[in-house]
Subunit: 387 residues, 2 copies
DNA sequence: TCGATTTGTTTATTGGTTGAATTATTTGCT
DNA sequence: AGCAAATAATTCAACCAATAAACAAATCGA
């Protein structure tokens, strides 16, 4: 098999595309290595020659994406290597989140380090979309002012709702939004490139950085139940960007009526309200030992829905995030037996079930991450824009 | 957005990769146009220059992939264009299928035309895997002998079971197969590159050619119920190649016991046996008006499972194939109400439900198709091998 | 101090696309 | 019939990016 370049996009490839690709290859290779990597080591890792890597690195250093650091610890004879790392002063990503009862902003630098983080608790339901986004823009400006003068590559917004490709929020039931062009509003307010995505999708992205498994489904238990599907290291968004609505997968087709109009949706058995109702508790923080059976039942419902997902997509990893993360020890007893019984290939290969690495701020972090991930995936594009 | 070259593969790109890509681009552009296309028109369509296209076309013609034909109908002044089409003498694909009660082979030329097709009805269950595959190899040789001396790029085998990436059949319950290295056995017998895939996956591929929608789920109702998931014009195979087991998606979690050990799997409500049992008929060919309610119930079960699929993957098209194809008029009444009720985005965008273009030979055709599709996707690789 | 070793750079070469000029072949106009 | 305009395809010099090989730089070990 020769090196395939392009999967499906029907676009011509010229020499400049070769350079664009190899720039990304070098940048990502350096980014993905724990310790500083020399030019020679990068050449070995990528399959490019040292001469080529040197030339590419020159561009990346000049563009502020890579920086030379103290050589790695000595090892044998020879000229000492110059260490390369992602530049701490490289372009940062601005992550934004709007949710029912808070706004959040988060600045993450090119290395993935959180440089600043702001949360503003306030009920967004009575506020209209334009006002809410204006408030978020203010929060964003404050977050950007703090960490000093970093170039900012762009912003990404997480919303609890259905988002169309251009950044149009079609529906966000809990916010009361309909057809809000959040991307345009924020772009005007911040003067930055802005993308918008579903919160579960972006939270899944944050998990991708944290854990590294390239294929998994991330299930986020918030007021609704959503999922982010990561296939081959990339978010799967669906035909119209509305993938991941696991909360409305039927688990008991003739069961409880759901606010969506159907019956037996997962959300009615494993959503926050359902769990609290079953446990007889006023808040997830106040669950006690008596909540065990309620959580086990919720886990069973999750297990039923997830069995369908795994049978269909053949995933080997399920990540539970949002409010499910801390509850996993109790949910596991419900989920795992269902997966074992119902997943056809369960006896051929194990399914890993684990809690998300990040908690409540997974979505903002993932949003910020998506920005720097885009820079890392297309440094040539960033360099061209920045110049 | 600059032209992205590589999605995820971490491989360096050199000039030869550029040529490989652009060869594929030109070949596919010609392949996807209904009428013969000139070099100039191809240049315009691809964004390459005419000089480049001419050079690429020279290679493709020399390699027997493209051929010049009579110019397209005249249009205005100027030198008439030389028409280009896929060569009728170009490399063919050999599709193979092994199933419970028949073997099939099918030779499809580069243009997608079926050149020869053979089916041998015989119960494969009493036969062991090696013997069955030897029989299939014989059938294949007869199919290849017929259409005259065509170069054959490779073979693909459809099996009703779980297939690992290398072509190892892990389990094929209805054939009684366990860990059969079908790819290796056929490769030795035929002296051709051989790939192996699940029958539903390959049937879905045939539908991709027939219909052209790039995203859909193809549900195949055979003895088991399987699905092929096509995302972005490519088959989604899953982490281990075991995707599409929709037959074991739970639709009534506490319902009928399934042969897989779980309860309430779709197969128990919409599989062939279930339908025949409910309709009280001995064969699908003998269904009469009285079978209406049985088919409607099967459709309801399908609708429940498919609602989960669509909620999760945000697909806009569902294709019913295998024995479901001809039954769609009766199944539709069961499926559509469920999709309307249960798919969260049903009122934002319609879901198309349609019967497959091909019938029983969808899998063989898809298998043959997968071979020529691979040639079209990487002509440089084929030319290098052929030389 | 000197050779071995490894890193990084320089230089000529190669492969592939581009753009402009050139050749080829037709239609339309006079 | 003859000529201009138009369109198709090819040729050729220029350019761009990667490569290979030689070279310079910096360190270790004897």
């Amino acid at each position: 098999m020769t090196a395939r370049i392009l999967a499906s996009t029907h676009a011509p490839v010229r020499q400049s595309s070769v350079r664009a690709h190899n720039l990304a290859l070098v940048l990502q290779t350096v980014a993905n290595s724990a310790e500083p990597r020399s030019r020679a080591a990068t050449a070995a890792a990528t399959g490019l020659t040292r001469a080529t890597v040197s030339a590419l690195v020159d561009d990346l250093v000049a563009g502020g994406l890579l920086a030379e650091v103290a050589p790695a610890p000595r090892t044998g004879a020879g000229r000492p290597a110059a260490g390369l790392t992602l530049s701490p002063d490289g372009p940062a990503g601005l992550g934004l989140e709007i949710n029912v009862d808070y706004l959040a902003a988060c600045v993450v630098d090119l290395r993935g380090t959180v440089r600043h983080r702001l949360v503003e608790h306030a009920d967004q339901r009575p506020v209209d979309a334009t006002t809410a986004l204006a408030g978020l823009a203010g929060l964003a400006r404050r977050a950007l002012a703090e960490p000093g003068p970093l170039p900012v590559a762009g912003a990404a917004l997480a919303v609890p709702g259905l988002v169309s490709p251009g950044g149009l929020v079609r529906v966000a039931p809990n916010l009361g939004w309909h057809d809000v062009d959040a991307a345009a509003l924020l772009r005007d307010a911040l003067d930055l490139p802005v993308t918008v995505d579903n919160e579960a999708n972006l939270a899944a992205l944050s998990e991708l950085r944290a854990a590294g498994t390239p294929d998994f489904v991330y299930v986020s238990g918030e007021i609704g139940v959503g999922a982010g599907i990561v296939l081959g290291g990339a978010l799967y968004r669906g035909v119209r960007g509305w993938s991941g609505e696991i909360g409305h997968v039927p688990v008991h087709p003739d069961g409880l009526p759901c606010r969506c109009g159907a019956r037996g949706c997962l959300e009615q058995y494993a959503g926050q309200e359902a769990i609290l109702r079953a446990a007889g508790a006023p808040s997830l923080d106040l669950l006690d030992a008596a909540a065990g059976p309620a959580l086990r039942d919720a886990g069973t419902a999750l297990g039923i829905a997830l069995s369908g997902v795994v049978n269909l997509l053949d995933l080997d990893t399920v990540v539970l995030g949002g409010s499910y993360g801390p509850l996993l020890p109790w949910l596991r007893g419900g989920i795992e037996p269902e997966l074992r019984r119902r997943v056809l290939t369960a006896d051929l290969a194990p399914i890993t079930l684990r809690a998300a690495a990040l908690g409540a701020d997974a979505a903002v972090r993932g949003a910020a991450d998506s920005v720097i991930r885009a820079v890392q995936a297309d440094p040539a594009g960033y360099l061209a824009r920045a110049a």
